[in-house]
Symmetry: C2
Subunit: 330 residues, 2 copies
Amino acid sequence: MKTIADIAKLAGVAKSTVSRYLNGGSVSEKMKQRLEAIIEETGYTPNTFAQSLKAKRTNMIGTIVPHLDSYEISQTLTGIDNELRKWNCHMLVTNTNQNIEREIEILYMLAKQRVAGIILLAPQITDAHLQAFNEITVPVLLVGQQHEEVHSLVHNDEEAGYAIGKYIIEQGHRRLAFLGVGEENEAIGIKRKEGFKRAVREANGCEVHFFETGFTMEEAAEGALAVFEGYFPSALICATDDIAIGAVKAAYKKGMHVPANISVTGFGGYAITKMMNPALTTVKLHFMEAGETAARNIIKLANGEDIPKLTYSNFEIIARESVDKRFVPG
Amino acid sequence: MKTIADIAKLAGVAKSTVSRYLNGGSVSEKMKQRLEAIIEETGYTPNTFAQSLKAKRTNMIGTIVPHLDSYEISQTLTGIDNELRKWNCHMLVTNTNQNIEREIEILYMLAKQRVAGIILLAPQITDAHLQAFNEITVPVLLVGQQHEEVHSLVHNDEEAGYAIGKYIIEQGHRRLAFLGVGEENEAIGIKRKEGFKRAVREANGCEVHFFETGFTMEEAAEGALAVFEGYFPSALICATDDIAIGAVKAAYKKGMHVPANISVTGFGGYAITKMMNPALTTVKLHFMEAGETAARNIIKLANGEDIPKLTYSNFEIIARESVDKRFVPG
DNA sequence: CTGAAAGCGCTTACAG
DNA sequence: CTGAAAGCGCTTACAG
């Protein structure tokens, strides 16, 4: 392994000159070419630790996720990693397994490890988070949730909720059910529901009942079973694709056909939604692009550049087979 | 930020003593307690870069994956990360997007970054890989594939293929089709198929046709359509769950019912297989446990300990709804 | 058991 | 534009 001293000796200059060349300092044109040739030839690459020890900063972006096993997280990570690579940065992933205390711990630990920035995919932001953000000097970017005190990148959940609500109403549905999650998750638990409510408010003569369940397909299947007790909506709007998958399963278990007996929609645009029987109508969120944008944003932040406090990521309605058209009398 | 010098001064000793304390060198009992108290109180933690600069090694395990968006990869990563945490190590994930050249590049790059070890989830091992393994001094552990020259951890693909073959034959099926992938992937393309073949060989009067497709659900759907042209198996054995999902989709498209008209099995035990209609009979591979074992093994390797060249991870058949019993005449 | 010193491979004022 | 020197925060022989 060559060091900067080797290169300096080979070039007949001081280490500082080599260092300056490497970091874009002022070096004569002649010297530049000489050094370029030598570095090329020797395959020299600077030792990252020595750099970090001085510069007090690494080329790693810490990424904190609540779990690793969902389409949403995978896609977002893929986007982050792809973009980071372009900037010669690495992604240091840590999984909190939904444990908030661990999340806080990791925030401090990553800061100590001097990552250049932290991308946080957290289901909720608590006071402990806020305190951590303040105490560490590393820039933080929230993805999927927003908070006024932190830079955030979110899917436009309210608008998306509105759009799917409007779509389902346009298809003629008037007896609706919304199967969501707890309000501690602002983006999914509140925003999507509020957007949907807004669409309902604008329409005429809708009956809507709201239900709550968990994030797993199994919980959702049970949650959907609860929906079907006593209330018979013509359409069930689910707050995530996994919830919709559980709901479809529950419907079949009840002997109901989708969409003949009940229409179901999801939220996310997971790959599997296309392959289901019936293929699921859903709101596609662009997770990979969001990840790329997040990476770009955190790098800007790490470089001391300014970015808007809040960035929105887009969505689109994907109409497939799980929604039936209903005739609206009158 | 406190440094080792601060602690030394506070304790009235030399830095070397503090360092020795930290690294388990010989320190008097009295001094140990004094230092423990001071470190506790100041919240001192050593600077990782300075450590790495000297020790020439980090507490990071590089993990190379072909993509991020599959149940298999997610679960394996979760297992790796969980276990690594127990050993105070971090997971540095890099996604190659199925690009072999990138894979090689990253191998060298991680070595340069002085990761303590590398876990490689690669679909295939080429000569370029082997050369890289030899040139870098960092220990490497292969997961999912095996090679005699490298430490490997694999699912017992041959046995698993045998088991599902045996199962399907026990259910009375005799007209079979196997929908697999290319042989460049040894574990999935060869081993699973060979195990299956062995089961068929042991049975009487089976007719089997072999087909090949890609890894995505979409490719598999097309691949399955090709199967159904001219040949009408009573059971279709798929080399992965994603392929099985595509096959089910294709069957429905053809107006065939699963399992009434055709039985289908998968391979993997993805979460979604339980929620499909019908729920998929499959070979469950224990990805998360495999990840944990992989992490434990690479750490041993990094510490210079010896481990067996080849470790097997277990599997189990999960019988669900996608396979019908057939009556075998006499 | 403990300490002084050198050195890991860089960067960064400071002179020139 | 270039170089000598100090220093980043550790660890590790080597003495004592």
